[in-house]
């Protein structure tokens, strides 16, 4: 390291690299500097952003993804169909049900089976619990980015309510692997719906407090209003997804345009905001939690009214060992049946999509009629949102980058797969 006394800023040629204490700085143009942010950075997330700065205004932003690329698409080609579910789930374990559901749907499309009515509602139930938990996680991380530690503590505390519910339903805090081809892994436990209603009531109350301390907080508004604006036509052009898209005034939600599972029979709205800035993106998440709570109430009513039978398609249930049926008739729930180990899926190509917490996720599954898929292609919401950094961040000041990053709710393991 050169000693500070030698550092002369004048006469610094373009293209020359100089050593400053702890970093290398390269001058890439007149008054233009390149800095590397991450993968270790104060927020959360494991992605490097290469920023070129003019003064403190970003002129070029190059997101460098792939720090969590764990080669899921390749590994899926060597695993049997049922084992791909836990594999792709690791993409976003905080949103596990939504992430795996389209894969299961694609396999179901290839096998030409439809889950029974109750299974559909059970899937919606966990999907919405996951969506709430995932939005709360996103808000908590947003708080970390902005240095608003209350907004980290509150949503993470409230998220535990929903994680706990999911744990009671499936047995795992995060990695549920709940939907399986033909149905779900188990039925709800006794007294679950009452706890669910209690959680819904609690969360409604809390959302009001979030609004007071976070969304209507003058400091937060000053930092978020008018920052990272994505106009409607640009949002469409960039193909971004999820709450970020809806904050820009595009009314697109897979639950609406192509209702899957039981969403067609449920009554809910899709919140859309027009501003397209960071604050609007935060608002969309809060409004979506409200809608999810509405859905949860309806699902709870529906599940109570339905007879407790048929969480698995007859095709599989008929083959289940007698022990399972006995346990189910006695206790009302069983674990996953070992029926899928040699699941052969007919040849074909299927494409399925679903609305995960961060946006639309699509799967393309191709089978050759063997035990393992020929190709699994997944495009996750965060990967499609990553393009925002490149096209929206330039023109803002460097200190707006955390606000933009946080507001997009970017989750690197999901983007990198």
């Amino acid at each position: 390291m050169s000693s500070p006394g030698e550092l002369k800023l004048s006469g610094w040629e373009v293209g020359e690299t100089r050593k400053l204490p702890g970093m290398d700085v390269k001058k890439i143009g007149k008054d233009l500097y390149e800095i590397f942010i991450g993968p270790q950075h104060p927020g959360s997330g494991h992605m490097r952003i290469i920023v070129r700065l003019d003064g403190d205004v970003m002129v070029e932003v190059d997101p460098d993804l792939g720090y969590v690329h764990r080669t899921m698409e390749k590994l899926a080609e060597g695993r049997s169909f049922i084992k791909v579910i836990p594999l792709v789930e690791r993409m976003a374990i905080l949103d596990a049900c939504n992430i795996t559901l389209p894969y299961v749907e694609a396999v179901e499309k290839l096998m030409d089976i439809e889950p029974p009515e109750r299974a559909k509602y059970l899937r919606v139930l966990l999907c919405e619990i996951n969506r709430i938990a995932s939005h709360l996680y996103g808000m908590g991380i947003f708080g970390v980015f902005l240095g608003h530690s209350t907004m980290y503590m509150w949503p993470f505390g409230d998220r535990e309510v929903f994680v706990e519910l999911a744990e009671r339903l499936t047995g795992a805090r995060l990695t549920h692997s709940y939907p399986v081809p033909g149905g779900v892994r188990r039925d709800v436990p006794e007294g679950f719906t009452d706890d669910l209603r209690k959680a819904v009531r609690y969360m409604r109350k809390r959302l009001e407090e979030y609004r007071k301390i976070f969304l209507d907080n003058p400091v937060i508004r000053a930092r978020l209003e008018g920052v990272g604006v994505i106009p409607r036509n640009l949002a469409i052009e960039l193909g971004i997804v999820g709450p970020n898209l809806r904050a820009s005034g595009v009314e697109y939600d897979v639950r609406m345009v192509e209702p899957y599972e039981a969403y067609g029979e449920l009554d809910f709205e899709v919140p859309v905001f027009e501003e397209g800035d960071a604050l609007a993106r935060a608002w969309v998440r809060v409004e979506e939690i409200k809608q999810s709570l509405r859905i949860l109430e309806q699902v709870a009513d529906k599940l109570d009214k339905m007879p407790r039978e048929g969480f698995m398609h007859d095709k599989f249930w008929a083959k289940a060992p007698k022990l399972y049926k006995d346990v189910y008739s006695r206790e009302g729930r069983v674990k996953l049946m070992p029926l899928f180990a040699n699941l052969k899926v007919p040849a074909g190509k299927a494409f399925a999509r679903a609305e995960a917490g961060r946006g639309e996720i699509v799967y393309y599954v191709e089978s050759e009629g063997k035990f393992t898929p020929y190709r699994v292609r997944v495009v996750s919401p965060s990967f499609r949102n990553a393009i925002v950094f490149k096209y929206i961040a330039p023109g803002h000041r460097l200190m707006d980058l955390p606000a933009i990053y946080g507001s997009i709710d970017y989750f690197p393991p999901e983007a990198d797969r």
Partner: protein, 207 residues
């Protein structure tokens, strides 16, 4: 700075036996000899380090969800004296949260090298043990080949309680085995296998 250096130059090389404010390295060496050589202060160092663990904010994979939850109100790991901190230069613990990819391996080593001694590593999750569900992936490295790991936590993902337990376990290790004070005395860890060379990890790195 410049005035200090010129005064130093006039005074010639630092004499042993006196503490010079301007020469931090010599001062630190002196202080270490004074404190550790003559008195039983090693125990104090261990005790102090055990209750001020600062994990660096470096999330490598999906176990990070549970890492975040560990410091959330329900589990509140702050009561053990550990709080995630932002800059590696001010931290002494790294929690490797799951898979380390080849791209991340280099970053992990760079962060590790930036942290001051004595420093510790906890490897969290099945992926950090031996790959876990991604055992045959072509893009991962085993974290124990990159940094010397003190405590491993099994599970996929481990529950927040397990991470809290690992922190308590690390505190016990530090206090019973004197990891921190030994490290200061000896300068480096000899009880751990040598990690893979940095050139292997970082040959592709730009920046």
């Amino acid at each position: 700075m410049s005035t200090l250096r010129s005064r130093e130059a006039r005074a010639g090389p630092p004499e042993e036996g006196r503490l010079y404010v301007g020469n931090l390295d010599a001062a630190a060496r002196r202080a270490r000899e004074l404190l550790l050589g003559k008195m039983k202060l090693g125990k104090l160092v261990d005790w102090g380090t055990a209750f001020s663990l600062w994990p660096v904010h470096f999330t490598t994979s999906c176990c990070g969800c549970e890492f975040a939850a560990t410091w959330s109100p329900r589990f509140d790991a702050e009561r053990y004296g550990a709080l995630p901190w932002l800059s590696p230069r001010q931290t002494n613990l790294i929690v490797i949260e799951g898979t380390v990819t080849k791209k991340m391996g280099c970053a992990l080593r760079l962060v590790w090298e930036q942290m001051p001694h004595p420093k510790f590593a906890i490897a969290m999750g099945a992926c950090a043990l031996d790959g876990g569900i991604f055992y045959n992936s072509y893009n991962i490295v085993r974290p124990w080949e990159v940094v010397p790991v003190d405590v491993f936590i099994p599970g996929c993902p481990p529950r927040p309680e397990a991470l809290a337990r690992a922190i308590v376990e690390l505190q016990r290790l530090i206090r019973e085995k004197g990891v921190a004070s030994k490290w200061i005395e000896e300068g480096e860890r000899e009880d751990k296998p040598a990690p893979i060379p940095k050139e292997d990890l970082c040959s592709w790195w730009r920046g």
